[in-house]
């Protein structure tokens, strides 16, 4: 069982790094990378619980779905970032505040 803790530990670190990235970076692409980290932390958890928690292949399936989802999300998000860049000439998310007022 100790192995599970190890996995979880690593996943927690990954998650924290992801969150930290999302919170601190101003660069849109960096924020996306933070999100990827969070997703992958979750994936790691799914796989770990699937392996050690007696949950058969369910965790794996979820992991695969998350990967596909992440890919799609990355595609959409990058497109948004490119659009922001095209319109505002920057990818700094703080600058994109037109809806604020």
């Amino acid at each position: 069982m100790d192995q599970l803790n190890n996995y979880l530990f690593i996943a927690a670190i990954l998650f924290s790094l992801g969150v930290f990235g999302v919170m601190t970076r101003r660069n849109g692409i960096a924020v996306l990378m933070g999100v990827e980290l969070i997703l992958n932390a979750a994936n790691l958890n799914f796989i770990a619980f699937s392996r050690f928690g007696g949950m058969n292949l369910d965790g794996h399936i979820f992991g695969l779905i998350v990967i596909v989802l992440a890919a799609a999300e990355a595609a959409v998000a990058l497109a948004i970032v490119i659009n922001i860049y095209n319109n505002l000439n920057t990818i700094n998310v703080d600058e994109a505040s037109m809806m604020k007022e």
Partner: protein, 683 residues
């Protein structure tokens, strides 16, 4: 009963003048001679019919003769009114009087009103009057009597106001109608009192009802006095006498027909008809009203200078006589006097009309429009210029003064005998015969004064006397006829007894017992009157002689100076000359206060009640709505509704600062939240 020939006659007598009226109103102006022949034709037929009935009555010589016919006029089930005719001897005599005087008036008027702008209208109104008067005479019930009563008032209104361009005529016509209405109100109240007790308007039912006692005591007295008020109005009795003298503003033939012979006699006729239901108390009222009027009006007539005014007050006084006779119970004498008076008084009016007519023409010749053609102070010495008028008028004057051998003597004597006998039965009412004899004295005096001033002595306006001519024969004809009818002989046939009323009249018109329990019976009254007959006769001859002598001494002999006497009598003369200031006082104490009251009421209604009270509601609502409006805006809208918005706004603004729009901040909040939750969880 309907098939009795007299009912058919009556129908014609009633409606022919109405037909004439309708023709005159619609076509009169377009007919040749403005249609006077239509009216004269119609009235002549009624005269023929009336004479026919009269002759028939004399032939039958039945004192109990009476036929009745009626029809349902309106019917609501229990409530219904039947109208109809009652023809008895009184009716027939009265019909003849109306038809005769009316015919005479029609003929007289063709000359008197020659060239008048409303000539055809005038004849139409005469027809309306004759119709209404015949309606009163023929009525067998109180309701139709009342209806015709008012119609007579209207025709009087129209005829008095014939020359309505003159304000005095317009005023007089209005006054006549309104004064009559005062009496009519009493009449109507009397009718209601009787109807609510008896449940019928017909005289026969009323008499039966009273006899059976369904109405008695004070109620019956009040009813009687109420009905008598109608008679007071029409017959111009004190205190409603004020209209008759003013009514002289109408054309003189009208005065003769209506305001001397027939219309004013309607009151007496009504009193005679309702006599059986008058209680002793009601009769006393009647007697005192009549007696007082007789002497009161005579005392005014003494000082009047207008020839028609003298005759008007004389008429009031004579009507007072008749009413007095009704009150003292000798109601057949009242009716007898009505008959004789109608003849001689109509004649006196025709005579005065003839004089005025000729004065008018004389003045016209001289282009004098200032002098009053009716003022006796402008006359004098007309005797030789107008002999026919003079002699006929003298006959009538003899009659009214109560000189033996003339009709007035008989009827007056009968009345005075009645009052005397009444006073013998009831000594406390000694005033009644005094009124009667006093009035007789004054009547003899002022009538001869009138004759002397007009026809005798030196002409007071000598420049006129050459233009004074006898009137045309259309006018003198009626004068001669009626002058002849002032002789006694016509009334005592088939007997020749100048000292007693005994004749066809007393045979055919016999007193009936009153139906009121406790009244004197007809026999008692007659016996008493018979008893007092000779005494009354001597006194009345004495007073008549005295009056004539006084008059002769004053105005012919000039042994007594009228001016001195009038100066010596002080305020009495002024009072009499000014008719005891009745018009002035009525004006001051009745008309003006009424008008002021009306103004006040209208002011209250319009300026006070409507403007302040009713519109006050409007203003109150307005004010209230302003207050609510203010509350609505200031409190509800501004404070509560907008306040909620403002508070939300404020709160929103406060929280706006954490809403940075920066994603990272939000994630930070989330993370912080998670950490806080975890910390909490761990405890």
């Amino acid at each position: 009963m309907m098939e009795h020939i007299f009912i058919h006659y009556s129908l014609f007598i009633l409606f022919l003048p109405l037909v004439a009226f309708v023709i005159q109103i619609f076509f009169g102006k377009r007919l040749p001679r403005e249609g006077d022949w239509v009216s004269i034709g119609a009235i002549s037929i009624t005269l023929v019919l009336a004479i026919n009935m009269f002759v028939q009555m004399l032939l039958d010589y039945d004192s109990d003769f009476s036929v009745e016919a009626s029809f349902v006029w309106l019917d609501m089930g229990a409530f219904n009114i039947r109208l109809g005719f009652l023809v008895d001897n009184i009716t027939i005599i009265m019909l003849l009087v109306v038809a005769l005087i009316s015919t005479c008036t029609h003929i007289f008027s063709t000359q008197y009103l020659k060239g008048d702008i409303r000539y055809s209208r005038y004849f139409g109104y005469l027809g309306l009057f004759t119709f209404s008067m015949n309606g009163i005479v023929l009525a067998n019930n109180l309701m139709s009597m009342y209806m015709f009563w008012e119609l007579v008032g209207v025709s009087s209104y129209l005829l008095i106001g014939h020359w309505f361009e003159k304000d005095s005529a317009a005023n007089a016509s209005k006054k006549a109608f309104l004064t009559n209405r005062v009496g009519d109100i009493g009449f109507f109240i009397g009718i209601m009192l009787i109807y609510s007790a008896v449940g019928s308007f017909a005289f026969t039912d009323v008499f039966d009802g009273v006899a059976s006692g369904v109405i008695a005591g004070t109620t019956l007295t009040l009813a009687g006095v109420g009905l008598f008020m109608g008679a007071m109005g029409k017959s111009s009795q004190f205190p409603l006498h004020i209209w008759l003298p003013d009514a002289m503003e109408g054309p003189t033939p009208v005065s003769a027909l209506m305001h001397a012979a027939t219309m004013v006699a309607a009151g007496v006729y009504l009193s005679v008809r309702i006599f059986p239901i008058l209680t002793p108390d009601a009769l006393l009222v009647v007697a005192y009203v009549g007696g007082f009027t007789a002497i009161f009006a005579a005392s005014i007539a003494i000082t009047q200078t207008d020839i028609k005014k003298v005759l008007a007050y004389s008429t009031v006084s004579q009507l007072g006589y008749m009413i007095l006779a009704v009150g003292t119970g000798v109601y057949t004498a009242a009716f007898f006097h009505l008959l004789t008076h109608a003849m001689f008084k109509a004649n006196l009016f025709y005579g005065s009309g003839s004089v005025i007519h000729s004065m008018h023409h004389a003045l016209h010749e001289k282009h004098d429009h200032e002098t009053d053609p009716q003022d006796m102070r402008n006359m004098g010495g007309f005797k030789d210029k107008m002999p026919i008028t003079y002699w006929s008028m003298l006959l009538s004057t003899m009659a009214i003064a109560g000189v033996p051998l003339f009709s007035g003597f008989l009827s007056k004597d009968a009345i005075l005998a009645g009052t005397l006998s009444f006073a013998m039965h009831h000594p406390e009412h000694f005033l009644l015969p005094l009124f009667g004899f006093g009035a007789a004295l004054m009547t003899a005096f002022y009538m001869f004064r009138m004759m002397f001033l007009t026809f005798h002595g030196e002409p007071k306006m000598p420049e006129l006397i050459d233009d004074i001519h006898e009137s045309p024969k259309e006018m003198t004809g009626p004068i001669v006829l009626l002058g002849a009818l002032s002789l006694f002989i016509w009334y005592t046939l088939p007997y020749f007894n100048p000292m007693s009323t005994h004749g066809w009249f007393t045979d055919l018109v016999v007193p009936k017992d009153a139906v009121v329990p406790g009244n004197l019976s007809a026999n008692e009254i007659e016996e008493g009157a018979h008893h007092a007959h000779y005494l009354a006769m001597y006194i009345s001859i004495a007073v008549a002689t005295l009056g004539i002598l006084l008059s002769w001494a004053t105005y012919i002999k000039k042994a007594v100076s009228a001016d001195q006497w009038s100066a010596r009598s002080g305020f009495l003369y002024n009072w009499s000359l000014n008719k005891y200031y009745f018009d002035e006082n009525y004006d001051r104490y009745i008309y003006q206060p009424t008008l002021r009251l009306a103004d006040k009421v209208a002011w209250i209604d319009w300026e006070l009640y409507d403007k302040y009270f009713i519109n006050g509601f409007g203003r109150l609502t307005n004010w209230a709505s302003k207050i609510t409006g203010k509350f609505d805006y200031d409190v509800i809208d501004q404070l509560l509704v907008d306040g909620t918005g403002r508070i939300s706004n404020l709160i929103g603004r406060k929280f706006k600062s954490i809403q940075t729009g920066k994603l990272q901040n939000y994630v930070l909040y989330v993370a912080a939240g998670v950490i806080i939750l975890m910390v909490i969880q761990s405890f």
